[in-house]
Symmetry: none
Subunit: 244 residues, 4 copies
DNA sequence: AATGAATGAGAGTTCATTCAT
DNA sequence: GATGAATGAACTCTCATTCAT
């Protein structure tokens, strides 16, 4: 995995898969998978997806702390009690939502760039794909910048590539942590600017500028930077999840 | 002014000075500034300072959103009603606190670096002084990183110096905004790492590394970077405000 | 309708009926009126009635402005939060209570007198029934005099009958508004005296005297006044709502 | 006295006179009326008048119950503590204000009509003068209708005249209390209509209509009513107090 | 007398959580 | 599983009153 968030968890596509909220359900009992069980599972998955999708909207609109349970159940069209069948608190929902929202982008990016051998180019391309998403999907950008970055935000892959780049001499940077802080901090700040910037033509291209200055900050060779910035960005196969 | 936040306001040292919460009190134009008035002002200023100082502790401990009025009045040792004589809400108190906490650091930094003619060196020195404070005062660092960076965080001076640096050829950076985002984002992320890092010897020197990578990211000449990093950091004359 | 207050609304006898506080609940158009829904509605209606009945007591005891939320919830035996599930404020509760309390008396009176053709007699009989209620139910009288008369108190039927009476020559009165003010003002003042008067034998008959002077004030013929005052007062079929 | 309110108290014209709020000051001590005492008294009277005049405005604007101490001290331009030097509570201020506002009207009316021997005519003229004030001074009318009528409102003179009128055969009314309720209730209701009616030409003459119907309600002879309504209204010598 | 900062009881309101149906 | 009425702790805010100066 390239962009590999610390807390990986699969979104509830497959009703058989454990999602964070359902992790407590013992699986051993599930010997007799009869019709009712299957129906029940489908309903569960359905409702959970409904809640998470509604939560995305709500968090994107109101931010991290303002939303109250009522906002979620109204947006999801469910009853108060139903909420508690899936999530113990809003913060658990926040975690689930973040995970669901970023995981497959992270996976997609990783899939796209795993073939690139040079860590400098690979890092640059990974960042570009990330910022492209931020540029083109304001709601996603808003959610991630203000919410998902909070607390965790530990992407393993970039740190690893920065380390490899330093070792290989591609990056001139005294300390991998410093480089990582620079890269992550700059991306975040760039995303914050993208949120504030409503005009699409002004957003256009800002992501690449951000990536370029990151590579410069990491001390990459200008020619290599040019090379990384000129590579065509692949269309990511499956469209990734979106907020709206 | 170098580090010049938008809303500069003097802390309530001098009871005659306007502070945000006392701004409505008529001053010089007052016809009869009699004894009672003066006494009253002193008390006001006193209490306001007491509240703000307590608030610093509270915000540093509990963060930006968690604290409730009760936390502040208990910490300040005042009555509920007294709080409302000074601040309409916790967020107003937050603003006042941020302002009070950062304003004189910003002023001090500015005073120190205004004599440096080269915008690259000046920018580097300004950043170093800022990060030095962050390194040496964990509570201040925690407060500022989590609270003051929120929303506003528009320091005019760094942006201006980045612009001047680009114009003079000292910085190689396609867009001043990008450079600004990089510089600010990196400092923030560096401060977040400083907070997480409790061991003093690991904190030691991290601020300078952050500044160094910022200058590299801005495309400064390595010699000039060296020069900026080697200049001795002046002791700022008055010790700046601190959280504890 | 005779005594027809502006905002007629049915009291929540039938859980399916809209009452002010439950007006937002979708009804017939609801697709699936299942068991749970029905049960929920019954509970809602129940609680609402419980609150309103308690509110009557409270308002009657403490007046219009003194009561606080706590009084209502204690009297109704509900939790703080439950109150807000039904009413946003005490004044909304006041409105609901007034409406609930007067509406069916107004309806009953109207039912009784609609058959009387002469507007003079009809007006007299309507007033007599109203004052009879005031005489016999001190709590109701106190509530209505101090609360319901506030602001609105625009009963359409009396005004219409006064107008008809003037047109037909039964009343000698220069201006229907003046007559209306006289009639309403006199009844209110009479009710205030009834409240102050705790001895039942002194209250006895005071309502009829009030009505008599109103008719005299409207310039009705003494014989007709006599006639209106001598007609037996019908027992209103269903006992109307009462405060206690 | 004709219109003689129960609680008569002189307004603070003469600083030597006791007003309700100063009634507790012992007079015995006042043997040595030196300069300072006199100055103090003048200040007292001044401040009290200032408070009461401000209170009139406040009550007229906000009604009987809504105003808080803050409203009064802001309107009067005094300090919090000063308020308590004069009034123990808002309701004491309300009483003082009512008294101050109505007393001299009551006196003036009484002075004007004391020479009229016939109780019917006298009552009619008294009412007319009252309603004339109501017609011409909306603020006064608003204050009196909504505030002063509350609670007390026991005017002795009208009741006495109604009694005398009944005894002399001028009024045909079974019970003086009923007549009194009719007269007072009708005036109040008429005043309420005057408040609601902002157009001066519609207000014009309404007071006399109100008085006319009162006399008719009391059973006065039509000729005598005519006579009472045709007498020219005297200009009351001193202009009475007004709200603005 | 006048001042106005400080007080704290008490009122209003929100909202996460439970639970019978 | 789904429902939504009921709950009450926790929070915000107001305002009459005191008192040192």
């Amino acid at each position: 995995m390239y962009y590999n968030s610390g807390q990986v968890s699969c979104p509830p596509k497959d009703p058989r898969m454990k999602s964070p909220a359902t992790a407590h359900i013992p699986e051993e009992e599930e010997v007799a998978v009869n019709h009712r069980t299957i129906v029940g599972r489908k309903r569960r998955a359905n409702t959970e997806a409904k809640i998470i999708e509604a939560a995305l909207q709500v968090f994107a609109e109101k931010g991290r702390d303002a939303p109250v349970i009522d906002d979620f159940i109204k947006a999801a069209g469910i009853a108060r009690g139903t909420f508690y069948n899936y999530f113990k608190s809003t913060s658990e929902l926040l975690t689930a939502t973040s995970t669901w929202l970023t995981d497959d982008l992270v996976e997609s990016i990783e899939r796209e760039i795993q073939g690139i051998p040079d860590p400098v180019i690979r890092h640059g391309m990974g960042n570009r794909l990330w910022m492209k998403k931020a540029e083109s999907d304001p709601a996603w950008c808003g959610f991630v910048a203000s919410i998902w970055f909070q607390g965790g935000f530990a992407l393993k892959a970039p740190l690893r590539d920065i380390r490899l780049g330093i070792k290989s001499g591609g990056f001139a940077c005294s300390d991998a942590n410093v480089g990582y802080d620079m890269a992550m901090g700059t991306m975040r700040q760039g995303m914050i600017r993208l949120i504030a910037q409503s005009s699409p033509q002004k957003r256009k291209g800002y992501g690449d500028k951000i990536v370029e200055i990151i590579l410069q900050g990491l001390g990459a060779d200008p020619n290599k930077i040019n090379q990384a910035m000129k590579l065509p960005l692949p269309d990511m196969r499956r469209p990734t999840r979106t907020v709206g």
